[in-house]
């Protein structure tokens, strides 16, 4: 079982938090902080497993994480999950994000956390891995987006126009925080089916 999925940046700002066990909001923040603290002090070329934090459940649990440019993707899992499998799953997740957002960068995650949640929901459900095939995930996401668009219809068009205008007026949004090395493959790890 996956206990929690966290995405935060190099400064520990949460970009997505998904807990599959009930924790109060305060505890959730504490867990994010603690996890960030554990993960961020590790060098780049050390192993991607950490024996669990204190807050999120005990000796059976492990933190499995990957670091892409400005973002940390952390999965907290128990012993029924394969460590290397989860690493691959993170890779699949990031690649899927890359496909859905076309060259994903941290800003996409900042402004569209709801979409990231929707993508994640097609991969992991209630803490269990639902789908690992990227094409299948993208197909379902696309179909749902299409459905959304058709529902918005007339009323949606002006709203989209407005948000485009809003974005135009704000030149200060930096566009260059790209997750440049998004397609880095783990050495010696053949991609997973």
């Amino acid at each position: 079982m996956i206990k929690a999925i966290l995405i935060f940046n190099n400064h520990g700002k949460p970009r997505l938090s998904k807990f599959y066990q009930r924790y109060s909001e305060d505890t959730q923040q504490q867990i994010i902080r603690e996890t960030f603290h554990l993960v961020s002090k590790r060098d780049e070329n050390v192993c991607n497993f950490l024996e669990g934090g204190l807050l999120i459940g005990g000796s059976d649990n492990k933190l499995i994480y990957r670091h892409y440019a400005t973002l940390y993707f952390v999965f907290c899992v128990d012993s029924s999950e394969s460590e290397l499998g989860i690493l691959d799953l993170i890779q699949v997740f990031v690649e899927t994000l890359d496909k859905c957002f076309e060259n994903v960068c941290e800003l996409d995650l900042i402004f569209h956390v709801d979409k990231v949640h929707n993508i994640l929901a097609e991969m992991v459900m209630g803490g269990m891995v639902l789908e690992t095939n990227m094409n299948e995930i993208v197909t379902q996401i696309d179909a749902q987006n299409k459905l959304e668009k058709s529902e918005a219809g007339l009323a949606g068009a002006p709203a989209r126009a407005v948000s485009a205008v809003k974005n135009m007026n704000l030149p200060e949004i930096p566009r260059n925080i790209n997750i440049g090395d998004i397609s880095i493959k783990v050495p010696n790890l053949p991609t997973f089916k």
Binding site: R22, E25, C47, S82, G85, L130
Partner: protein
């Protein structure tokens, strides 16, 4: 209307959407909190609008704020509104918000049931999908119960997208509503073979998750999984299945054998490291489960170790980490094969990655030997010095202590070295583990007598330099060592050379800054010191010196009397008075030393931490009974309801699965014993530590190695352990040389006879003898301590509820509740309302078939129970058949003893037993009573969930049937506690082994009894190759395996390490059972100890009493009356005088020892019934007079009756 809507949405267009909110927060970095509270106010306004688009926008923003740590539960109702929007866009937002913030405590969650049901059955698959996803995060027991049936239907949805989600969510439903597992399981199993790989993978996922918690219930799926494993190409599925097999193999060693080959193939063929790693892991699990019996799997071990070495050597840190992790698993069973890679693991200690270093440390723990301990610890000490983070340093510290102290200090050859290592460790600053070092110091000093002198000198040094250690007390845990130092110096003060100096060190004013509990120990131990100094001075006639020391105490003690710590204050003032009194006596020139020292006479021995817990409760002592009258109700009204409720809850949980619990326990215990027996690192504690302790020679007999005084002992902080390493090396070298010399001599002598013998001698571990004879005192335990598993139980395990037997047919009442429109006239429970679910029909049909078959065979004893049993058997057979295609198993390793009869169970709380008895009784009642109750019998199946309900029902029935007399079941009507009784009797005993036995009739076979024998190893040697043989009589024969002659013994299927007991069962066949019988027999075994092994024999007489042929069979009072009236029974009676125990106990005794059950009891008169394995009825009427008991018996066989009564007389006369 449409225009209005468009207009409305244009108005709202300039509301903040999620992006605006995020942007706003980023632009208000300085006053983020203020800005957000503004936004929340806006959101509250938006939520009041009717427009669903506005609402959903607000909820979407709330979801974002939730991530930032804001509690949004106040908007729960609005979230539900958005969830129920008709558009998918909004619905999705609503469900996302719900999944992030709803939980079991959310009160409005019950409002969602119907909405979710509607969405589940929506024609749009994405509505359904989004509802399932949301539900998976916030499902509650109520939702699970109400929606289980809907979700189950979705498992067969046409779209695989829905199917896989429905399958996956079932796991969550099972967790919250365990009753749904059995009805849903058949369909879940079907999904393992779903055409869609995603659905299949989901099903595998769920079953693996279930099986991980309760593997034994899923053993029967092994063939199916095996097929999947060999056919699937999906690595996710393969990994899950392989992990599952890893959990199943410990339960079924034959499965492991079947797995080895395909797994090995996968290891060779796969290119995915993740799969390879899991395969290696499972092979290791298989090897562990087989290690008991299979010596020739070295090839597989080699393969694993090789592959792991490749992983560890890989440049990828992840693989390195996992390689080490898996290596540590192999280490447990095959330490030799790992030890050859010591170089690699020591190398990993230098890795820059902390996780890897920690893993390597774990491995080191298992790799030390007498030879390399010092070297390894030396290396670790270097790391301690280098380590920067306190966590890693603390970890190193605990590891060093763990490594050294493991298995009773097995690997330490030089304790001086160890003490100096501990002293060196005290130099660590800021460690949290001061108490750990202290505990070690105490333990070593107490248990290794020979080291006390040295330890005391070191501790005195520590006390002298206490100011260094306790420099900053607040955050310094290391001052704990002073606790140990003070105690050791006090307790073993006779070894102290400069006691005066130490006493002064302890009386320094600085001491008062130490934590209270340490000061308390200081105070107590300075008196011990004082006492021994006093004695010393008095003996040498230095009266003045003695008075001086007294004066010193009187001067310095008041600083402790003023302490704020209560303990310190109390001890100090008490002692101050004592010393003042001593001073008075001294002035009168009365010699006092002898009396003062008498205060601290005697030795303190170590006591095992669990010792108190293991003291068996003596017979007749009831710990739950009130000592005084219970307080009156009025006083405790507030508290009482709570405790009652609590009690009931506990009892309830027991109700559910008492048997499984015990079996499980016994199984675990068995497994553990087995593991211990095979674990080379497990040192068995000797059976009677006290005895051993007495045998040990006193301190004076132990040669104490002269301490090399060239080593500057008293320089604080100087690492000395290196010196000891050198000394030790020299010693070993010398030793070796001596040995070699001896050998050469021998060689010279033997040269003529043996040529190339002994020429290739390498130094092995055994050759290193400890520096001095070390006598390690084991911890004290009560004499008859039982091996208990109490500690392993976790009553709060949420997965325990899912421990459900899935192979039993489904009962009517187990179907999932189906929601319907409520009918005005019925308000039944959902259970009774439910129409039959199609699945449950299948097993029923099977049942019927079975029954027909049986009828055809003409068996009259038609028992529902049997049918069920047979079905189970059949399933078992299926698995057996599948497994048996593998090479035949090696039987010696399989523990045979039945868990139900293990000795520990006898000591279980009486309550549980009563419980079982009642249950059994009820099951059996069906049989004895006439055919009309066939209907009832159906319900008497073993299903636990139903049990309690049924019980109540049937009980009610009984009451109405026989209102006149109160029926008593097995004489346990009153809650009066019964003394613990054991049916195990002594069979034979010698200094090596003790055998106790019990005989039970066999329900299935009318001419067999099972003899359970508990073998207890009383010696300190290893007992093996036990073989039990009995001289058969004409009437009674031991059942031997086919092909063996009557003179062959039966091997006992286990070996016994010292102090361990285990149980084996032997089956005997008999012809006539009317007479008691005795069989002569012999147990032969091999005693193996350090000196070698010897053959031993123990003769015994196995006594088959007539009572052992009886089977406790309950009987209705009307059936009993009929039986008595029938007149086929012979009668006989006895009378026993001088009975003092209560009637209640008396009945319990007869029930327990003679296998009777109470039919009726009126005052001090009871009728009892039992049946022999060959169907003889035995009826008793027991009457109790003032001091006597009379028993009238009726039986279908007069000889049997008279023999039974004789036996009973014997039992009763002992009362």
């Amino acid at each position: 209307m449409a225009l209005k809507m468009v207009k409305g949405s244009i108005d709202r267009m300039f509301d903040k959407n999620l992006q605006d909110l995020v942007r706003g927060i980023r632009n208000h970095k300085e006053d983020e909190a203020k800005y957000i509270s503004q936004c929340i106010d806006e959101i509250k306004q938006e939520l009041k609008q009717d427009n669903i688009a506005v609402k959903s926008n607000a909820v979407c923003k709330l979801t974002y704020l939730q991530m930032l740590g804001y509690d949004i539960s106040w908007a729960a109702f609005n979230i539900i509104e958005v969830m129920s929007a008709s558009k998918f866009t909004f619905k999705r937002i609503g469900y996302l918000a719900a999944s992030q913030c709803f939980h079991e405590g959310t009160d409005v969650i019950m409002l969602t049931t119907n909405q979710i049901r509607k969405d589940l059955s929506s024609p749009n698959q994405y509505d359904t999908g989004v509802a399932l996803t949301g539900l998976s995060c916030f499902v509650t027991p109520d939702l699970a119960r109400d929606l289980a049936n809907d979700i189950m239907t979705l498992m067969s949805h046409t779209k695989p997208y829905i199917r896989k989600k429905a399958v996956l969510i079932m796991y969550k439903v099972f967790l919250k509503y365990p009753e749904s597992l059995r009805p849903a399981f058949p369909r879940l199993k079907e999904k393992l073979e779903d055409p869609d790989p995603g659905v299949q993978s989901a099903a595998v996922n769920v079953i693996c998750e279930l099986a991980r918690r309760n593997p034994k219930n899923y053993l029967s799926l092994a063939p199916l999984f095996f097929k999947l494993m060999t056919s699937s190409t999906n690595n996710w599925v393969l990994i899950k299945i392989i992990k599952l097999f890893g959990a199943l193999t410990p339960l079924e060693p034959r499965l492991g054998k079947k797995l080895i080959e395909p797994l090995t193939n996968l290891i060779h063929s796969t290119s995915a490291m993740s799969l390879l790693y899991e395969c290696v892991n499972t092979v290791i699990a298989v090897l562990i489960s087989l290690s008991s019996g299979m010596p020739n799997h070295s090839a597989s071990i080699q393969l694993c170790v090789q592959k792991l070495r490749i992983l560890i050597e890989d440049s990828d840190q992840n693989l390195k980490y996992l390689g080490l992790l898996a290596m540590s698993k192999i280490l447990k069973t095959h330490p030799k094969s790992v030890q050859s890679h010591k170089d690699l693991i020591l190398q990993c200690l230098d890795d820059k990655d902390e996780s890897i270093r920690l893993r390597a440390l774990d491995l080191l723990y298992g790799m030390v030997s007498k030879k390399n301990l010092m070297e390894i610890v030396k290396k670790l000490m270097i790391h301690v010095d280098k380590a920067e983070g306190t966590t890693y340093r603390d970890e190193l510290l605990t590891k060093i202590i763990d490594i050294c102290s493991q298995s009773n200090y097995q690997y330490i050859t030089n304790f001086e070295w160890y003490i100096s290592i501990l002293v060196e460790l005290t130099r660590l600053e800021g460690t949290r583990h001061g108490h750990l070092i202290a505990a070690q110091m105490l333990d070593v000093a107490i248990r290794v007598k020979a080291i006390r002198k040295f330890a005391v000198s070191q501790m005195a040094m520590l006390l002298d330099n206490a100011h260094l250690i306790a420099s900053n007390t607040q955050r310094n845990g290391i001052c704990e060592v002073l606790y140990a130092a003070a105690w050791i110096c006090g307790e073993f003060s006779e070894h102290l050379e400069e006691a005066n100096q130490t006493l002064e060190a302890m009386l320094r004013p600085k001491v008062t800054t130490l934590p209270g509990h340490i000061q308390a120990v200081y105070v107590q131990n300075m008196v011990k010191l004082y006492a021994s100094i006093l004695q010393q001075k008095e003996q040498s006639g230095e009266k003045e010196a003695a008075q001086e020391i007294t004066q010193l105490m009187i001067e310095r003690l008041p600083q402790f009397v003023q302490s704020a710590d209560l303990e310190v204050q109390e001890r100090a003032s008490c002692i101050l008075q004592l010393i003042k009194y001593i001073q008075k006596l001294q002035i009168k020139e009365v010699p006092v030393a002898e009396e003062v020292i008498a205060l601290f006479a005697g030795e303190l021995n170590p006591v095992a931490p669990k010792a108190q817990k293991k003291v068996p409760v003596p017979e007749g002592l009831d710990l739950d009974a009130w000592i005084n009258e219970p307080p009156s109700d009025s006083e405790s009204e507030d508290e009482k309801p709570k405790t009652i409720f609590h009690d009931e809850e506990q009892r309830h949980s027991r109700h559910r699965q008492p048997e499984i619990d015990e079996e499980e326990l016994a199984r675990r215990r068995e497994a553990r014993k087995q593991e211990q027996a095979n674990n080379p690192f497990y040192i068995k504690s000797s059976p009677s530590p006290q005895k051993r302790y007495q045998d040990t020679p006193g301190v004076e007999h132990i040669p104490v190695v002269q301490i090399d005084l060239s080593v500057p002992l008293k320089v604080p902080g100087m690492p000395m352990s290196d010196q000891y390493v050198k000394l030790e090396e020299e010693r070993r070298h010398k030793q070796k040389l001596e040995k070699d010399k001896k050998k050469k001599k021998q060689k010279k002598e033997k040269r003529g006879k043996h040529h190339r013998h002994n020429s290739l001698h390498t130094e092995s571990e055994e050759d290193i003898t400890p520096a001095h004879h070390v006598d390690i005192i084991t911890e004290e335990m009560p004499e008859n301590a039982l091996p208990s598993d109490e500690d392993d139980k976790d009553p709060n395990d949420p997965y325990k509820a899912l421990d459900i037997d899935l192979d039993k047919p489904l009962a009517d009442s187990e179907k999932l509740p189906v929601q319907r429109h409520r009918n005005a006239e019925t308000l039944k429970s959902p259970d009774s309302e439910a129409p039959p679910v199609e699945k449950s029909k299948k097993p029923k049909k099977k049942e019927k078939k079975h029954r027909e078959k049986e009828r055809d065979k003409g068996k009259k004893k038609e028992k529902e129970k049997k049918v069920v049993e047979e079905e189970e058997e059949k399933k078992g057979e299926d698995l057996d058949f599948w497994l048996s295609t593998a090479p035949p198993p090696v039987s010696t390793a399989q523990p045979q003893s039945g868990p139900e009869v293990s000795a520990a169970v006898v000591a279980e709380p009486e309550e549980v037993k009563k419980e079982e008895r009642e249950e059994q009784q009820e099951e059996d009642e069906g049989k004895v009573s006439s055919k009309s109750s066939k209907h009832k019998k159906k319900k008497h199946k073993k299903e636990k969930e139903e049990k309690s309900k049924d019980k109540k029902k049937s009980k009610k029935k009984h009451h109405s049937e026989e209102e006149a007399t109160e029926s008593v079941q097995n004489g346990t009507l009153d809650d009066e506690p019964l003394p613990p009784m054991s049916s195990y009797r002594l069979l034979a005993e010698n200094p090596y082994i003790k055998m106790t036995y019990d005989i039970q009739g066999n329900l299935q076979n009318d001419s067999q009894v099972t003899v359970s024998v508990i073998f207890e190893n009383k010696s300190t040697s290893f007992l093996k190759s036990m073989e039990l043989n009995v001289l058969d009589s004409l009437n009674t024969k031991m059942l031997r395996p086919e092909g063996s002659s009557v003179h062959d013994g039966i091997p006992v299927p286990f070996q016994l390490p010292p102090g361990i007991s285990n149980e084996a069962q032997f089956v005997f066949t008999l012809q006539s059972i009317v007479m008691a019988q005795k069989l002569k027999g012999t147990l032969s075994f091999i005693v193996k100890n350090d000196e070698g092994s010897t053959h031993e024999k123990l003769d015994f007489k196995l006594h088959f009493s007539c009572a052992s042929y009886l089977i406790t069979t309950p009987c209705y009072s009307d059936a009993f009356a009929k039986l008595l009236e029938s007149g086929d029974l012979h009668m006989s009676s006895i009378k026993v005088d001088g009975i003092s125990i209560s009637f209640q106990h008396l009945l319990a005794k007869i029930c327990f020892h003679h296998h009777f059950s109470v039919v009726e009891r009126v005052d001090s008169c009871a009728s009892m019934y039992s049946r022999s394995i060959q169907g003889h009825h035995v009826c008793l009427l027991v009457k109790k007079g003032e001091n006597s008991v009379s028993i009238d018996g009726k039986c279908s066989d007069s000889t049997l009756l008279s023999n039974l009564l004789d036996e009973m007389k014997e039992t009763l006369s002992k009362c």
